[in-house]
Symmetry: C2
Subunit: 355 residues, 2 copies
DNA sequence: CTGAAAGCGCTTACAG
DNA sequence: CTGAAAGCGCTTACAG
């Protein structure tokens, strides 16, 4: 069952090829300074033996430390969403730091493009072997991705994707599908007679195409199930309560038969607050993300469903993808869509309890 | 930022304590043969330095191979549920086999208690450092757990728990809560006028107390929300289609106002098949587990919701718990309840897509 | 283009 | 009770 240690490893390869282990090492790592003939001979033996390098020994002997740069939004009062990915990243860090991985964090402000660019510039000055980023600002992220590519630094996208950017991989939600699911929940939770309101709340509705992709998915469901005319749309470009409240009041006055509201992002708690204050709690409310505020309204019943996409796992798996690629040389899946979780009053306690 | 390598590690401890590294090693691993005085001195220095052993070096130098025994049901035609935990176990195995972990699988037949006992006996004859098991047969599992305890072999439960058995940990569903959630979904998906049918389908209803715990949760929801009298209960002790069909026919004839059926385990597809053939597809059907057959009916709309508990993660995390405990010496959480996922037609594609 | 030797930070016999 | 030395399977200068 178990091979004798003498019959595997670089030593054995060297013995069979009649060279030194240093030369074997050069071939294994595709380094220069080996004659074609020798290289071929060694390659052949490696294949024959189905040689698997011992990562323990490799990492121990190598003085090399890998530097990962994490570029994500700062956790703020306004949104504690990013706490979860950060936790996942820290969990991954704990698992791999033993193996000579250094993880540096660069936080930017979601309300300030400049801060994103500033952080990318710092990263590019640093010695960096891999990048994990949430590409919140498309243009800026594309530019940064180009710089990484030039330097041969692999980068992973989490939370939202920018396709065609040759990233190592994308780990995050399938936005269209999550909107589609949202519509399904509306359909389940209301009689089919009322109208449905879709609400985008964001200072950057036009830059944040991911909101629109969710809305598309939402509408598609109704198209597929035959009542697209019942959807009212409301864009709110100021995120504070007053603005949201004013806009909602008006819309609900104009359309008194609205029975469900779908908020395309985590700002659903603002809407919940409005409904509560207005005594409109029989309107079905659905939104995104496992934020403390949102969960509070879920508990109360003001919010019926939160759609979540395992942000903690996104951070964990994104970091591990860099590790697997850079350290273990594993092949990485280009796209990994997260499960679309439905959180309710009854199951929220068991969401994100992972250590 | 980075400490010079000379100022950390056993060598440095040895230097400071004025002893050899062999003695330091003895203290680190709590081995005998060190004077109290020396031990105390070294312990102090270790604490002062906040010394963290280098696992890479430790695993490399140590000739020790850890043997994990995995005791779970064989994947059968009847239920492919156990494919998922097995995948998780294999993913964990791939991640840790580099570090001298040997993982052996022992499969038993869910319809055959004896096969469980037989496998436990084989395991006990083997050199085993840790056990991961699904304790499907309580009595037999308790007995095996005792034997492990005698031998100082830690064991992890997945999928269902046996409390008070001093396991290293339990990783799996909170059964009561998942039943509670099932009732919530019934409530959402039906008008409150109809009756609800709870169906237990198992040859071993009385041994499999976990079915009953789900039923309890289910009933509690209605109690908390005020209509317990509307629940009809049906136990079916033969699992083949004919038996299920016969029983269901009769019950639905007796209670024509049943509008929802809650099946307490993965055999919900049998009920779905019956409803389909009987043209009763407007009855809301809810059950458990992401099996191919179940998903087929989810797609068709015959089943509205499947409740799932990340079986793949149970396998992965269970295996890693053994690793963390035995190899890294990490403190392990006693109980880790899995998230309770709700799977629908719209989100099933994104469930269990993890590699 | 190639090899001998030292070393990564531990563990393991073995000798005293 | 303690220590010197070899070795785990690699990588890394360095010398030729």
């Amino acid at each position: 069952m178990k091979q004798k240690s003498t019959s595997s490893g670089v030593k054995e390869i060297a013995r069979r090829a009649n060279v030194s282990i240093a030369t074997v090492d050069r071939v294994i790592h595709n380094r220069t300074g080996v004659s074609e003939k020798t290289r071929r001979k060694i390659d052949l033996i490696i294949r024959e033996m189905n040689y698997q390098p011992n990562i323990l020994a490799s990492r121990l002997a190598s003085r090399k430390v890998f530097h990962f740069a994490i570029l994500i939004p700062r956790v703020s009062e306004e949104t504690d969403y990013w706490e979860a990915p950060l936790n996942g990243i820290q969990r991954a860090t704990a698992a791999i730091k033993q193996y000579g991985i250094n993880v540096d964090h660069y936080f930017y402000d979601l309300n300030d493009k400049k801060s994103f660019t500033r952080q990318t510039q710092i990263i590019l000055k640093q010695k960096t072997d891999g990048v994990l980023m949430a590409p919140s600002f498309i243009e800026e992220a594309v530019h940064f991705a180009e710089e990484c590519r030039k330097r041969n630094i692999p980068y992973v996208f989490i939370n939202s994707d920018i396709p065609q950017q040759d990233s190592l991989c994308y780990i995050g939600p399938h936005l269209f599908q999550s909107g589609y699911l949202g519509a399904h929940l509306v359909n389940l939770g209301t009689s089919r007679k009322g109208k449905t309101l879709v609400v985008n709340i964001s200072r950057e509705i036009d830059n944040h195409h991911h909101l629109l992709r969710k809305e598309d998915g939402f509408r598609s469901y109704f198209k597929d199930h035959g009542s697209p005319q019942e959807i009212i749309k409301l864009d709110i470009r100021q995120t504070h309560y007053q603005a949201v409240s004013r806009k909602l009041s008006k819309t609900l006055r104009d359309f008194p038969d609205i029975t469900a509201i779908f908020v395309t992002n985590s700002r659903v708690s603002t809407v919940a607050s409005f409904l509560e204050k207005s005594g409109l709690e029989n309107i079905l409310l659905i939104g995104y993300d496992f934020l403390r505020e949102n969960v509070r309204y879920l508990e109360k019943g003001t919010i019926s469903f939160l759609i979540c996409q395992q942000p903690e796992e996104q951070g964990y798996q994104g970091t591990m993808a860099l590790y697997d690629h850079l350290v273990l040389g594993t092949q990485i899946e280009k796209v990994h869509f997260m499960p679309i979780d439905i959180i309710t009053k009854e199951n929220y306690e068991f969401y994100q309890t992972a250590k």
